[in-house]
C-alpha cells in the first residue's frame, strides 16, 4: 500500500496535512490500445471518439456512493463536454492507474486535480485542432458544450470532427484549469450512470459473472481465528449431487461443484479436522477484562495541551466515565466472492473489490505470474464499507483455478462473511474532565485502550501510537486549556479491518457523549456549551448551528422523548446531527428524526452528498442500536442477520439533510455522515432518560 493510500484512510485533522496527492496525469496506455487512430486519447482517463462520445475511465471502485458519476463530472467540467455524450468505463488495473484502492472517502479528493487536468488537456488539444483548421489563433477560440467555437466568426465544430487532428497535436503539460466561479458541471446533480442497470437486473456484480466451464466453490475455514485444517474426509461432500472435487486451499478446504448450492451443501457436510491455534479459548469477557486492567496504566501520549491530566488536581469538580464499543462486522449485502481463470502464463480475475490494483498483486503472487500477466475485471460491488480491501477470497479463487485447471468462482456464505470478516475494533475508554468553580470545563483527559488496525496490517510499527485508534479523539476540537489523550495498544488477535469512518466510528461517540456528561455536570445546555467551546472552530460551529436551528433545538420534548446533538470532523468534512428519540427507561429506543448539516468544502454533486449523509445515518443507526460481534472460544458468536441485525425500513427515522458547503477544498462524503450519529442518538437517550449511554449498542448490558 502506498503512502497515498495509507494517508487517505486517515480520519483526523492531521489527515489534511498528510495527504499526498499525485498531480501527475498518467500517459494513456490502456486508452491507446482501445482507441482507433482517429480517437483522441491524450491520457489514461479519457477518450474522445470521432462520433463525439466521451468515455471517462474510472480508476476507482464504484461501491455505490456514485463516485464514478462524480469523477466523470470532473473530466466533463474541464473538457467542456456535452454531458449527454459522456460515458464511463471501469479502468482495468495496470501501470497507467497506479494505486486504485478505494477508501478513506478519497476517490474525489485524490482525483480532484488529475481528472480535471485530464479533461483540460483534451480541451486544449481540441481547441488547437480547430484553430489549425480555421487558420486562426487558438486564443480566439473557446470550447463549450462539446464544440469548439471561433468567437470572431461564429464558426463552430463538434469535438467528433476534431479528434483525428487533435490526436496528433502535442499534449499540453500544464493546461489551464477553470476558476471555481466558472464551474458549470461541478455543483449540479446529473443522474448516476450506474442506476438504470440497478433497477432492471442487468447490473453485473461479482457473483453474477459467468465464465464458460467454471466451477463454483465454497470454502470451509477454521471457525477459530488463526486456526487451520490438519485433515479432511471428502467422502460426505462428494456424495452431494453436483459436487466434483474437494481441495485444500490456504488454511481451509474448498468444495467445488457445478452449482453454488451444491458447493454450499457439500461444504456443510464436509468433515474437517482443525488445529484451532492459540486463540481457541479467547472470549469477549476476557478481552473486556484485559482492556479494563490495562486502562489503569498510562499509555502513549497522542495529544497534550497545557498541563494535561495534571490539571485535574486543580479542578473544583471532576467527573469520570468509561465508554466501550464492540467489534463490528461490515455485512455488505453481497457476500465476498471472486472468479478466477488461471491458464498457462495468464490469469484473469473478476471481482467486486475496493482495491483493483491490490487484486492484481495478490493474484500474481499466488499464481506465480508477472503482474502484467494478470488481468483484473472490476465488477459492480454489492457494498464495500471497508470490507473489500482484503485479498484472501481472491487468493482462494486463483489458487483453486490453478489447482483444478478450470475457471472457479468462490462464493462465501453470509455465515462466512460474518464469521470471517476483518472487524472494527472493540475499544475501552476512560474519560475524565474537570470544571472550575463557575462550571467551565478546564481539563479533559481520554485514555484509549484499543487494538490498532494499521498496526495489525503493518502500516504502523508495532508499539508506536496507531492513528487508526486515536484519530477522532486526539483532534478534539473544543477549546479546553488542558487536554491529554493517551493510547494503550493491546491486540487480542481478532482480525481487524477498515470499517466505515475507521477510528471516528468509535471516537466521535466516546468524546461527544462524554461532553454531554460534562455539560450536565456544568448545568449547561449541550448545544450552547459546544458553541462556546467551538468559538475558534468556524466550520464545526457553522454545521452545529445549522443542525440545531433546523431541528428546532430549544424547547424540551415531552416526557419519554429526548433530543441529542453531536458534531465531528472526518475525511476533510464537517457534519453535525440532531437526533430525536423516544426512549422509555429500560425500554426500547425509537429514533424518530435525524437532522444533518454537512460542510464538505466544495460540493461536486449535491444529491450524492445527500444520499451519503442518509447512508451514513442509517449505517450508523444499525451500529448504534443493534450491532455487536462477540467472541466465544475464539470464534464469532453471530452468524447471519438474525443475530447480527441491521436497521429495517420500518425503523428508519425521518432524515433531513442540509447542505452547507463552505467552498474550502473538496472533502469526503462516503464516511463523514456516520460518526456523529451514534453520539447524537445516545445523547438523545441520555436527555430522555437521565442515564448516559456508555456502551454500544444502546441497550447492551
Amino acid at each position: 500500500m502506498s503512502t497515498t493510500r495509507r494517508d487517505f484512510l486517515r480520519t483526523g485533522a492531521l489527515a489534511g496535512a498528510g495527504l499526498v496527492i499525485a498531480f501527475h496525469v498518467p500517459e494513456s496506455a490502456q486508452a491507446t490500445d482501445l482507441a482507433g487512430k482517429d480517437t483522441l486519447a491524450p491520457n489514461a482517463y479519457l477518450r474522445v471518439a470521432p462520433d463525439g462520445s466521451v468515455t471517462v475511465m474510472i480508476a476507482r471502485s464504484e461501491l455505490g456512493q456514485g463516485s464514478s458519476t462524480a469523477l466523470a463530472m470532473l473530466v466533463a467540467e474541464e473538457l467542456e463536454a456535452d454531458w449527454q455524450k459522456v460515458r464511463i468505463e471501469q479502468a482495468v488495473p495496470g501501470p497507467a492507474y497506479g494505486d486504485m484502492s478505494t477508501g478513506g472517502s478519497a476517490s474525489i479528493r485524490s482525483l480532484w486535480k488529475p481528472m480535471r487536468k485530464a479533461g483540460a488537456q483534451a480541451r486544449e488539444m481540441l481547441v488547437g485542432a480547430a484553430a489549425r483548421l480555421w487558420k486562426v489563433e487558438p486564443a480566439s477560440c473557446h470550447a463549450a458544450n462539446g464544440e469548439v467555437v471561433h468567437g470572431p466568426s461564429g464558426r463552430r465544430l463538434a469535438y467528433g470532427a476534431l479528434t483525428s487532428l487533435a490526436a496528433h497535436l502535442p499534449q499540453p503539460a500544464d493546461p489551464a484549469l477553470k476558476e471555481r466561479k466558472e464551474f458549470r458541471v461541478i455543483g449540479t446533480a446529473p443522474a448516476r450512470f450506474d442506476s438504470p442497470a440497478k433497477v432492471d437486473g442487468s447490473a453485473v456484480f461479482g457473483a453474477d459473472v459467468r465464465v464458460p466451464g467454471m466451477l463454483y466453490a465454497s470454502v470451509a475455514q477454521c471457525p477459530v481465528f488463526g486456526g487451520k485444517a490438519t485433515g479432511f474426509d471428502p467422502a460426505t461432500a462428494l456424495k452431494v449431487p453436483g459436487v466434483v472435487r474437494v481441495e485444500r486451499v490456504g488454511d481451509g478446504v474448498a468444495v467445488l461443484a457445478k452449482s453454488t448450492w451444491a458447493a454450499f451443501r457439500g461444504c456443510e457436510t464436509l468433515r474437517v479436522t482443525w488445529d484451532e491455534g492459540p486463540l481457541a479459548t479467547l472470549d469477549s469477557a476476557a478481552i473486556r477484562a484485559k482492556f479494563a486492567e490495562l486502562a489503569k496504566q498510562p499509555g502513549q501520549t497522542t495529544r497534550k495541551e497545557g498541563r494535561g491530566a495534571a490539571a485535574l488536581a486543580g479542578a473544583a469538580r471532576t467527573l469520570e466515565a468509561v465508554y466501550e464499543v464492540p467489534y463490528l462486522a461490515h455485512t455488505p449485502m453481497e457476500p465476498m466472492n471472486c472468479t478466477a481463470r488461471v491458464r498457462p502464463g495468464a490469469c484473469e480475475v473478476w471481482v467486486p473489490t475496493q482495491s483493483g490494483s491490490g487484486v492484481q498483486k495478490a493474484a500474481a503472487q499466488v499464481a506465480g505470474l508477472e503482474l502484467g500477466a494478470v488481468t483484473v475485471h472490476m465488477t459492480l460491488i454489492g457494498g464495500g464499507f471497508g470490507a473489500r480491501h482484503r485479498q484472501d477470497y481472491v487468493e482462494q479463487a486463483v489458487l483453486l483455478s490453478k489447482a483444478v485447471g478450470v475457471p472457479v468462482q468462490v462464493v462465501w456464505t453470509r455465515e462466512d462473511d460474518i464469521q470471517h470478516d476483518r472487524y472494527r475494533p472493540a475499544t475501552y475508554n476512560v474519560l475524565r474532565a474537570g470544571l472550575d468553580a463557575t462550571g467551565t470545563p478546564i481539563v479533559w483527559t481520554h485514555r484509549i485502550v484499543a487494538p490498532g488496525i494499521a498496526t495489525q496490517m503493518g502500516f504502523v510499527k508495532k508499539g508506536e501510537p496507531d492513528w487508526s485508534s486515536f484519530d477522532g479523539a486526539a483532534n478534539l476540537p473544543y477549546a479546553i486549556p488542558d487536554i491529554e489523550v493517551d493510547l494503550v495498544m493491546h491486540d487480542p488477535g481478532i482480525p481487524l479491518g477498515w470499517w466505515r469512518s475507521v477510528a471516528s466510528s468509535q471516537n466521535a461517540y466516546v468524546t461527544e457523549c462524554f461532553l454531554d456528561e460534562v455539560a450536565a455536570a456544568a448545568g449547561r445546555d449541550p448545544y450552547e456549551l459546544r458553541r462556546e467551546l467551538l468559538k475558534d472552530k468556524p466550520r464545526h460551529r457553522a454545521v452545529l448551528e445549522l443542525a440545531a436551528q433546523k431541528a428546532g433545538w430549544g424547547p424540551a420534548l415531552p416526557a419519554g422523548q429526548g433530543r441529542g446533538i453531536a458534531v465531528h470532523e472526518s475525511f476533510g468534512s464537517f457534519v453535525a446531527q440532531v437526533a430525536e428519540v423516544e426512549a422509555a427507561e429500560g425500554g426500547a429506543v425509537r429514533v424518530k428524526r435525524v437532522v444533518c448539516a454537512v460542510d464538505c468544502g466544495t460540493m461536486v454533486h449535491p444529491d450524492l452528498v445527500r444520499s451519503q449523509m442518509e447512508s451514513g445515518v442509517i449505517y450508523g443507526l444499525s451500529a448504534a442500536l443493534k450491532s455487536e460481534i462477540t467472541i466465544e472460544k475464539g470464534r464469532v458468536a453471530q452468524s447471519n442477520f438474525n443475530d447480527y441485525p441491521m436497521l429495517t425500513i420500518d425503523e428508519c427515522p425521518t432524515i433531513e439533510v442540509h447542505l452547507a458547503p463552505s467552498g474550502d477544498p473538496v472533502g469526503g462524503i462516503g464516511e463523514p455522515g456516520l460518526p456523529p450519529l451514534a453520539p447524537a442518538v445516545a445523547n438523545a437517550v441520555y436527555a430522555a432518560t437521565g442515564k448516559p449511554v456508555r456502551r454500544l449498542p444502546i441497550g447492551a448490558g
Binding site: 443522474a191 449431487p241 449485502m333 457476500p335 453470509r414 442509517i618
Partner: protein
C-alpha cells in the same frame, strides 16, 4: 434429478433439477437470471425476492419444485421494456446506491402497489420491512413508491 416445468417471466421452461435446490439457484445458474440475488440464504434479507403468483416470495427458501406451474416474476420480467412505474420512479428518485438489494425492494414494492395503489408510509414500512438495505436507501424507497403510486414517475 427431477424434470420440472417453471413459468418464469411468462416463458415456460422444462428443466432437470435436483429436487432440493432452492428456486434462487435455478433462476441464477440454470436460467441465467442473475438479477435475483443471494444475500443470506436464510430468508432474512429479501435480496432474493421474486413474485410467485403475484406474492413476494423468498427464492432462497422455496425449492424449484414448490414453484412448479406457478407464474414467477423476477426483476428481469417486471416490465418488458424496464419502464414499470416503479423502475421509472426508482430512477427519478435516484434510489440505488450499491444496488444489490434493489431487485428485491422493487418486487416487494410491486406486490404492495398491486394490492394497495396508494400506500401510506406505514403501509410501505410494513410491506418492505423484511427487505434489508445496507447502504440505507430506505428514505428514497419510500419516496419512489409514493411517486410511482401517484403516477408521476418523471
Amino acid at each position: 434429478m427431477t424434470s420440472i416445468r417453471l413459468i418464469v417471466n411468462g416463458r415456460t421452461h422444462t428443466l432437470d433439477v435436483d429436487p432440493e435446490t432452492p428456486l434462487l439457484w435455478v433462476l441464477r445458474e440454470t436460467l441465467g437470471l442473475t438479477g435475483t440475488k443471494y444475500g443470506c440464504g436464510a430468508g432474512l434479507c429479501g435480496a432474493c425476492t421474486v413474485l410467485l403468483d403475484g406474492e413476494p416470495a423468498r427464492a432462497c427458501q422455496i425449492t424449484a419444485v414448490q414453484a412448479v406451474d406457478k407464474p414467477i416474476t423476477t426483476i428481469e420480467g417486471l416490465s418488458p421494456d424496464h419502464q414499470h412505474p416503479l423502475q421509472q420512479a426508482w430512477l427519478a428518485e435516484q434510489v440505488p446506491q450499491c444496488g444489490y438489494c434493489q431487485s428485491g425492494q422493487i418486487l416487494s414494492a410491486a406486490a404492495l402497489l398491486a394490492k394497495n395503489p396508494d400506500p401510506s408510509d406505514a403501509d410501505i414500512d410494513r410491506a418492505l420491512s423484511a427487505n434489508l438495505c445496507r447502504c440505507g436507501t430506505y428514505p428514497r424507497i419510500r419516496r419512489a413508491i409514493h411517486r410511482a403510486a401517484k403516477g408521476g414517475a418523471r
